[in-house]
C-alpha cells in the first residue's frame, strides 16, 4: 500500500491513565520511576540520567535481551510540570534528531497522556548534531 502524506509525518498516541497528571509527569522525569516501565518487555534500562530543565540533558542506557547496550539521549526543550514536556530524541551514533512532545491533561478524574513523535524538528539543530557524531552503531534500529 502506498503511504499517503496526510496525515502521518508525525506520530501521535494517546492513553487515558488512572493517575494524576503529577504522577504521570513523575513517571517520565524521575530516573528511578522511568526505569520501572521503560525497561520491562524486550529490553531493560540499567542506567537513566535526567537533568530536568530547559537545555538539560537526559541519557538512557537500553539493553536488549541479546546484544550491546544502546544509548538514547537528548535535551529538554520545554519543561512545564505536570502538563507539558518536550525533548529531543537521538540514538547515540545516529545523526537523526527527532522531537517528542508529551501533553498530560486531567480529564474527568483521569489523565490523558498524548505522545507526539516528530521527525526532523529543527534543521539547524539537526545540522549541529550531525557534526558531533562520528561513530556508527550497527544494531540500534533492531531494538525497535
Amino acid at each position: 500500500m502506498v503511504a499517503r502524506p496526510n496525515p502521518p509525518f508525525a506520530l501521535n498516541l494517546r492513553r487515558m491513565l488512572s493517575a494524576t497528571p503529577e504522577r504521570v509527569f513523575r513517571a517520565w522525569t524521575v530516573p528511578g520511576e522511568l526505569q520501572k516501565w521503560w525497561g520491562p518487555g524486550e529490553f531493560t534500562a540499567p542506567q537513566v540520567e535526567i537533568d530536568l530543565r530547559v537545555g538539560g540533558k537526559y541519557r538512557i542506557a537500553m539493553k536488549p535481551p541479546q546484544g550491546d547496550i544502546v544509548y538514547l539521549g537528548g535535551e529538554y526543550r520545554e519543561v512545564e510540570p505536570p502538563h507539558r514536556l518536550v525533548f529531543t530524541w537521538q540514538w547515540e551514533g545516529d545523526p537523526a534528531v527527532t522531537l517528542v512532545t508529551l501533553e498530560i491533561l486531567e480529564h474527568e478524574g483521569m489523565t490523558e497522556l498524548s505522545v507526539t513523535h516528530e521527525r526532523f524538528p529543527d534543521q539547524r539543530q539537526c545540522e549541529l548534531h550531525k557534526e558531533g557524531w562520528s561513530a556508527t552503531l550497527e544494531k540500534l534500529p533492531r531494538v525497535l
Binding site: 492513553r15 493517575a19 520501572k36 516501565w37 525497561g39 520491562p40 518487555g41 526532523f120 525497535l144
Partner: protein
C-alpha cells in the same frame, strides 16, 4: 550506511513538513499532473509552487519530466514507503512503552 539512510529520511520528513507540499503529494498520489495543473488550486504564485516542487524533487519524492511545452510531475513511492515504515516502527515501540507505563501506574498507585 546508517547516515545515508538517515539523511534520506530527514529529507523526506522535511519535505512533508509543509502543508502545500503534502497537498501536492496527495494529488500526485492519485495521478500524475503537469506543473500548471498542480498550481491551479493554490492561491500562491507559480514560482512559489516551483520552489515546493524543487524541494520535493531533491527529496526524491517526485520526478519531473519535460513533455513538449509542459512539465509532468510524478510521485516516487519509495521514500514515502520508507517514511511510513519508520513511523510504524516507532508506533509499535511507543505502544509497548505506554502499555508498560499503564501497568506500572496500576501496580504502584500510591506513589
Amino acid at each position: 550506511m546508517v547516515n545515508k539512510m538517515s539523511s534520506k529520511l530527514d529529507a523526506t520528513f522535511s519535505a512533508l513538513a509543509d502543508p502545500t507540499r503534502r497537498a501536492i503529494l496527495d494529488r500526485l498520489g492519485k495521478r500524475e499532473c503537469t506543473v500548471g495543473e498542480l498550481a491551479k488550486p493554490f492561491p500562491i504564485s507559480l514560482p512559489a509552487i516551483s520552489k515546493h516542487l524543487s524541494v520535493l524533487e531533491r527529496a526524491g519524492l517526485i520526478s519531473r519530466q519535460r513533455m513538449g511545452r509542459r512539465q509532468v510531475c510524478r510521485l516516487k513511492v519509495e521514500p514515502m514507503r520508507r517514511a511510513s515504515e519508520w513511523l510504524e516502527r516507532y508506533r509499535a515501540f511507543w505502544e509497548a512503552r505506554l502499555d508498560a507505563l499503564e501497568a506500572h501506574l496500576r501496580n504502584s498507585p500510591r506513589e
